[in-house]
Each structure stands twice: as C-alpha cells, then as structure tokens.
C-alpha cells in the first residue's frame, strides 16, 4: 500500500471517535446546552464497552452497554444544568474530572490493575462498525436536524427558547433528549477507542479527543457536514503526526497543535465567522 493510502485510512480511523463525539456535541449544543463533557463521555463509553465485552464476550453487548452508560452520564449533566440550572461549563468540567477517576478506579478494583481492563481477543473487537456508523450518522444528523419536527424543535430551543416555549414546545424535554443523544453518540466514540482501535481500556485513553471534537464542532460551525470535514482534517493531522514520529525533521508537537490553533483562529473570526446557537449556555427559566 502506498503511503497516501496508509495515511488516508489512518486519518479516517483517527477521525472516527472525533466525529462521533462531535456529532454528539452538535445535538446538545444546537439545543442550547454546552457540552464540554465529551471527554468524560468518551472515557465512560470506552471503559463500559471494554468491561462489558470482556464479561459477555460479545462486542455488540459491549457497544449497547456503552450507549447506556453514555446516556446515564449525560443525564447527570442534564439534571445538573437543565434541572438545577448549574453553569453548563462547570458541570461539564466536573463530569470530565469525575470520569477521569471513575473508570480508572473501577478497572483497578475489578481487575486488580493500575487502571486498565484486560486485553480482549481479536474476535471480540469491533474495528469497522463504529467507523461506518460515524459516517452514516452525518447525513442522518443533517436529516434529523433539518427535516424532522424533532430537529426543528431542537434548533428552536437552541436559538430562541422563549419563542419555542410560547409555541408549545417543552424546552426542558427537548434539551434533555438532545443531551441524552449526545451522551449516546460520544459513548460510541469511546467504545471505538477501546474495542475498535485497541483491545482494552486504559487510563485516560481519550487523551484530549473530547476537546478536539469540541474544536471540530466549532470549526465546523455547528453543522454536520462541515463538522465531519473538520474531524477528517484533524484526524489527518493526527495520522500525519503518528506516521512522522521519529522519521521527519518536523517536530510532532507542531502538527499536534494544528486543531487548537485553527479553532482559535476561527473563533476570533479571522477566517469566516463561527456563530454559536444563540441560547447556547443559557439555562431556560420558564416565566409564569
């Protein structure tokens, strides 16, 4: 295989967890709820998938359990910041710290390890399904968002919750649904890390991908197709830095920071404007 093909296939693999987490973030943020908990959701999904696959011997069960775990963790975020009007960024930060700890604590306790799960045999891995799922979900997300009543409500709630409320939309319920979808998708991304790309869960294995996904979401202007392109770009940067490790004269650190620098540049409006959903980050208080 030529180097280009190796790079491209590696880029797609690297982009997959980013894309799943970013699409998750998209649902949440388009409904007006900031989700910087993507990192914690990835870890929760990765740990659950690896552990349940280990005990059940079936990666499909592991994947389903990861989705369940993601929804539960997202519910914590939802209860804190939709129900109790907690600051969404603070709640997200708390979840990130919490789920840096919980999976490591549990795998240490379950498997007498230093925060990793046992290696899974090759037959119990799922290297392809999450990739296909991630890229199929891009048009699906676009369709749901732009062509279904749920998507219309979700966008309305994220742009103008007062108006949506007046029109009879249950703001709380739509936001809860969006946050739960967000948890499910990000957790699939996490499952890909543990039972797709590798064969176990290791402490902090997401290594900041939740934040890169967030960057891709902003770089992609909160739209599914653009977000996918951003994920592919960042995945390509990742693939490049892996291939160049120790080979090239260009230090990997400079390739690694590309997504972060691009995000700042875009946020500052130097190349195009990236406009957040109008009600992003504002808890909705129903007026009586």
């Amino acid at each position: 295989m030529s180097i280009i093909l190796i790079l491209l296939s590696s880029a797609i693999r690297q982009a997959t967890p980013l894309l799943l987490a970013a699409l998750g973030g998209l649902f949440s943020e388009r409904s007006g709820v900031i989700n910087i908990a993507l990192e914690g959701l990835l870890l929760a999904g990765a740990f659950t998938a690896a552990t349940v696959t280990y005990y059940s011997g079936n990666p499909w069960v592991g994947l389903a359990a990861a989705v369940g775990a993601g929804v539960l963790v997202a519910l914590i975020h939802g209860v804190a910041c939709i129900q109790f009007k907690a600051d969404q960024v603070v709640s997200g930060t708390a979840i990130n710290i919490l789920f840096l700890g919980v999976p490591a604590l549990l795998s240490g306790a379950f498997f007498q390890s230093t925060g990793a799960t046992p290696q899974l045999p090759n037959g119990q891995l799922m290297p392809l399904v999450p990739i296909v799922l991630a890229f199929v979900l891009v048009p699906v997300t676009w369709y749901v968002l732009n062509r279904t009543p749920f998507g219309l409500r979700l966008r309305a709630v994220g742009e103008n919750p007062e108006a949506a409320d007046t029109a009879g939309v249950n703001v709380t319920r739509v936001r809860f649904a969006a946050v739960m979808v967000s948890g499910a998708l990000a957790a699939i991304g996490g499952a890909y890390l543990s039972i797709g790309q590798s064969s176990l869960f290791a402490r902090n294995m997401s290594a900041g991908r939740g934040f890169i996904a967030l960057a891709a979401l902003i770089f992609g202007k909160w739209r599914p197709v653009q977000t996918m392109l951003a994920c592919l770009l960042f995945g390509f940067a990742d693939a490049l830095s892996i291939q160049m490790q120790g080979v090239s004269q260009v230090p990997v650190q400079f390739i690694q920071i590309v997504p972060y620098v691009l995000t700042i540049v875009v946020l500052a409006g130097f190349i195009g404007q990236s406009r957040a959903p109008r009600a992003l980050g504002i808890p909705y208080q129903k007026k009586r």
Partner: protein
C-alpha cells in the same frame, strides 16, 4: 448570617460528595470508614502529612485565586493549566539561561518571568474575548494544549540533558533556588518540598483580597462581572476589564512555577501538574471565589492529594482515583447549588 451560609453550603457539598464517594468505595469492596480514615489521617501526621498537604495546597491556592479573579469578572478561566505550564517553562528557561546570576537578581527575574508568561497566556484569551467575542472557555481549553505542546517541543529539542530518558530540562542555576521551609522550622525536615512559595501564596491571597475589594480596578472588575451592561452604562470599559482580569488570572496561575520550578524540582518537568489548573476550578467554586475560601478549599484538596497516595497503597481495591471522583462530585454539587437551596430557597422568594 450570610457568612454562615457561605460556610455551611460548601460543607454540605463536601459532606454529600463524601457520602456518594462512600457508596463507590463500598461498591468496589472496601470499607469507607477505613478508607476515609486513611485518606484524611495520613494528611494530618507531623511532619510529613502536614508538610506534603501544605505543599500540594500551594499550587491550588494560586490556581484557585486565578479562577476566582476571572470568575469575579464573569469569566470562566479553564486555562489555568496552560498558564501554569507556559509560566513554568519560561521560568525554567530564565533560570537556565541566566544561571550565572546571583540569587538576589535571579530569583526576582525568575519570579517576574513566571508572572509575565502566565499573564501573557491569560491575556491572549482575554483580548480574543474583548476584541473578537471569542468565548474564553473554548480559547483557554485550546491554549492549554498549545502550552503543553510548545513547552514539550522546546524541552525535547533544545533543553533536555543528553541521554536523559525523562522529558525534562537541564537544571536551573543554583541562584534561582528558593529555600525550603525546613530551613526555618525546627524539627521540620528539608526533604519535604514545602518551600517559600507557600507563605508567598498566603500573602498573594491578602493582596488579591485588597485588590478586589479595596481598589478601583478591583471594583470595576467586580462590577463587570456582576452586570456587564450596567457596568458599561456606568462608564466602565468592560473590554479592558476582561483583558485585565484574564491577565491577572494568568499571572496568578503562573505563580505555580515558583513552587514547582524554583522551590521543588529546580527544572521544567513535562506533565508535572496533577491537574492543578482544573482543581483550581473546584477550589474557587468551593471557596466561593473569596481568597479565604480559596485557602480553606486548597487545604482540603491538598490533603486529599496527599491522602490519595496512601489510599492507593494501603487499601485492597480503592486507588487514588477516588480523589478525582470526590473532586468531580464536589464540583457537581457546588455547581447545582439549587439542589441544596431547593425548596427553602424557592419558599423564601415566594416563587
């Protein structure tokens, strides 16, 4: 009454977090009582327990203050982690480059470097927010990764000792070292890395208090945080306050370098921070964004960091990750304040 509530509410959050943590401990098969005894008890022994607790609390006081000052201006600085990395590398760089200078010059120079580098790393998101409306949460997260990567690049390619398997710089000059407290306290061994950065942190707490509540700049920062529109209407240049608050916030986080580089490792060490910048968010929240609260919360989290090491070794199942779990739950409880205020708050307001 207000002071009492400011104390009771964080205590309730901590108690609730420990209760949830106890459930987790039982779930993994250990006794919560002995785990917590170990966690707190090993942080209170003299001199090691208390010495290390204060040593771990020192960077948390700085990052807690950093987050609190930004909070007072209505900003969430998630970038303390990047600011303290940028500052630590630059401080080490100054300590290496000017290694020949005598202590009387080199220590102040290194201190200034920490302030400026941290302040600059904080000012950038401040300017991006004030000038271009870029959300500081996202830009500071991105700046965190950039700081770590850039520092790691310079360390790896320019300042690493030959053949050293660890990613760290060569040591700073002897003149840049600051004294450990063991030098001044009888019976307190110098092997414990608690150093002059700790009393410095306490002094800085006082200075931050005076700045925020006794100066015009501090007033304007708080006014901007309380109600930006009203502050602007009242003639305060809110954009400038944002840049000022973020610069001060970054400089405060940058002072972690004094503890880490000048007082402890005497070099830049890749990945040294145990998430101090993020714990700073917990410290500020729990400490009600007040310097006194920041000190108390830092002592708690410092004790947990110290005790966590013992939990790791001496319990059968629980690891030091329990500390992170507790920390996360504490932030959640403090953030979802309404959970505790709940019915009572609503009844008072009559809603």
């Amino acid at each position: 009454m207000n002071a009492l509530r400011n104390l009771l509410f964080p205590l309730a959050a901590v108690a609730a977090a420990f209760a949830v943590g106890a459930v987790v401990v039982v779930a993994v098969g250990d006794s919560p009582l002995s785990t917590y005894t170990l966690l707190i008890g090993s942080a209170l022994t003299w001199p090691d327990g208390i010495g290390y607790t204060l040593f771990y609390a020192t960077p948390l006081i700085f990052t807690g203050l950093a987050v609190a000052v930004a909070f007072r201006c209505g900003l969430l600085n998630i970038g303390a982690e990047g600011q303290l990395y940028a500052a630590s590398f630059v401080t080490a760089w100054v300590g290496i480059t000017f290694a020949g200078l005598p202590a009387i010059l080199l220590v102040p120079l290194c201190f200034l470097a920490a302030l400026l580098a941290g302040g600059f790393w904080g000012a950038v998101p401040g300017v991006l927010k004030a000038r271009f409306g870029a959300h500081e949460v996202i830009t500071t997260i991105m700046m965190n990764f950039i700081a770590v990567a850039v520092a790691s690049y310079f360390t790896q390619y320019h300042y690493k000792p030959q053949g050293d398997p660890i990613l760290e710089t060569v040591p700073i000059g002897d003149g840049a070292h600051i004294a450990r407290l063991g030098k001044f306290i009888p019976g307190f061994p110098e092997r414990i890395p608690l150093n002059l950065a700790f009393p410095l942190a306490l002094i800085v707490c006082l200075l931050v208090y005076l700045f925020l509540w006794r100066t015009r700049w501090g007033y304007e920062i708080r006014a901007t945080g309380a109600n930006p529109a009203a502050a602007q209407y009242g003639g305060i240049a809110t954009g400038r306050q944002v840049v000022l608050a973020m610069s001060i916030s970054g400089a405060l986080a940058g002072m972690v370098a004094v503890n880490e580089v000048l007082g402890y490792r005497y070099r830049y060490y890749d990945g040294f921070s145990a998430g101090y910048g993020f714990t700073g968010i917990a410290v500020a929240l729990l400490g009600r964004n007040h310097p006194v609260g920041v000190i108390l919360a830092s002592l708690l989290f410092g004790a947990l960091l110290r005790g966590g090491l013992f939990v790791d070794i001496f319990t059968e199942h629980v690891s030091k990750d329990l500390v992170m779990v507790l920390q996360g739950i504490i932030i959640l409880f403090v953030a979802a304040e309404a959970l505790f205020r709940g019915r009572m708050g609503r009844r008072i307001k009559g809603v």
